[in-house]
Symmetry: C2
Subunit: 328 residues, 2 copies
């Protein structure tokens, strides 16, 4: 079943308003959830929405909070998110980073004590739409063992890097785990193994079995020891700058709330668009590895999916859609 | 054979002075090459030195160049490295980024038209020694196929992230390829396969065979499609900000010269050291994957090696050491 973007957004907004969200918060949050579904990331769009509302009802998300400036040193500002809606706080955070960058070339906003930002790419697209380069990362609850260990101690701590471009922004949005737990669950449901090793089995060997990996919380970091180091360092940078809760704190608390995000924005008049296009052409000029393989730049598929869904409607899981409509 | 740090540095400095380096450039460059060997990275230390001198003699490195400010927008400054010594230009670049960050919280310096920066970690340690967080990346000649392709189109484009800490700085220094070509050559020489897949064979399957990977220039990006995207995006950000030569330009020219680097520095009074130490303790509290496995934070091993080599002398390849001594 397919639903027009405006209808999806409108229903989500009504549910948020019914749950006492202010008009402007309901507008921003419904737009982000609907856009995530539009861009093909329904796991952080419609499908995540009921969980979000459940967190609101449980009081884990403070819907009245507005991010509060805690300290500023030049172009670096630290905000306390006061456990408000994560995607709302991060949208305001990136907007502020953009403002700083427009004035000073580069701006850095750290949002601590915040909730899940949903799809990190959201803030990359936001920077790119403003004509700026965006670099963002977040911490998360532990789901990966560090390299050499077997117990989950690292978050999947996604990284986003965005560069604006007339023909379509370049937006990289990657978690530090090779596969997300959501993706591994899909493989488990369809009773198939992962296309590449995605974690460790009990004997410490790499495995493609999603059941074993999910049971042991032994997801594989990208690039083995390298992604393990990256995930750790993102958490350390966030704690160093903001002093907020680390993956250790979040995991010990048992709930994935009170996260930290770093939103960096760079603004320059001339972003050398011809040079960027030459890089993309050169990269895509490689012969395919296997016949039929395509080489995509980060964000290419998102844009294609977004345009298709805007035209044809957004595919929705009917059960979730009915459930959400009844929440109005 | 082992050589004291000061002796190694002194010999390298004499060779540089004999090759018409100014006193201050010879001091900075010899210190970096000797420090790289001291820290266990002789591939970018003593062992690389003869190649560096060869490039100087061929006129590929302009030893008289001083980086020239091309444009400044607030806290973002673009420099033309005028094909000077890469490690010299990047040291000055990071020093400038540190200065900007001390004044404005965050500074970003892009060095274009530069040469190889040798070990990227150098500039991470430099930022950390100044009490700052450092984020650096570079582009490089193509040596990896993009995801879905079989011809090399991406550089290994290393990333460095450093956070200062009294007990030992955290310094992550990772290339976007799972194994470097130097490391794969070592495996080939010792006639052993890689411990994990490191590239593709002719049929597009992952392989641990260093001979096949080196022949096809089919090194594997970390995290498969994810590292492919990261390497591409670093090159794009560098080209967007500086307008310098991309991996495409460098590869088409046939020589790995005229690279670009981005050096970002963040300065904050309180970097929450207790929070950082708690993260490291928590991460290292995981049970080992296999008996005897250890969990290290990025930079831990470098510091250990550095301290050991300062005390006991730096292990050198005798053949290279004799050769370099005769270059004085």
């Amino acid at each position: 079943m397919k639903v027009p973007f405006e209808e999806l957004k409108s229903v989500l907004k009504q549910v948020l308003l019914k749950n006492s969200f202010s008009g402007s918060k309901a507008e921003i949050c419904s737009d982000i959830f609907a856009s995530n579904s539009r861009d093909g990331v329904s796991s952080h769009g419609l499908n995540r929405f009921p969980v979000f509302i459940d967190y609101v009802k449980k009081g884990l998300i403070n819907i009245e909070a507005e991010p509060k400036l805690e300290s500023a040193h030049g172009s670096v500002e630290i905000y306390d998110g006061l456990t408000g809606p994560g995607m709302y706080n991060c949208t305001l955070g990136m907007a502020r980073a953009i403002d700083i960058a427009k004035n000073s070339g580069i701006g850095c906003v750290v949002m601590k004590n915040n909730n899940h930002w949903m799809r990190g790419g959201t803030y990359g697209w936001q920077a790119a739409e403003a004509g700026c380069i965006g670099i963002c990362f977040t911490n998360a609850i532990a789901g990966m063992p560090p390299w050499g260990g077997k117990e989950a101690r690292l978050g999947n701590n996604p990284l986003v890097i965005a560069v604006p471009r007339k023909e379509g922004h370049i937006v990289l949005d990657i978690a530090m785990s090779q596969f997300s737990y959501g993706k591994m669950q899909e493989y488990e449901w369809s009773n198939t193994e992962l296309p590449f090793p995605g974690g460790f089995d009990e004997d410490g060997a790499l495995t493609k079995d999603p059941v074993v990996i999910r049971k042991n919380k032994s997801a594989l970091p990208i690039g083995l020891w390298k992604g393990s180091g990256l995930a750790l360092v993102f958490d350390i940078v966030l704690a160093a700058l903001g002093g907020g809760r680390s993956t250790a704190d979040i995991t010990r608390s048992g709930n994935e709330i009170g996260l930290s995000q770093c939103l960096i924005c760079i603004n320059q008049e001339n972003l050398h668009p011809e040079q960027i296009n030459d890089i993309i052409r050169y990269t895509q000029s490689s012969a395919p590895l296997r016949s039929g393989d395509t080489i995509r730049y980060p964000g290419e598929n998102t844009l294609k999916t977004s345009n298709k869904n805007l035209k044809e409607g957004i595919p929705v899981n009917e059960e979730v859609w009915e459930k959400v409509k009844n929440m109005r």
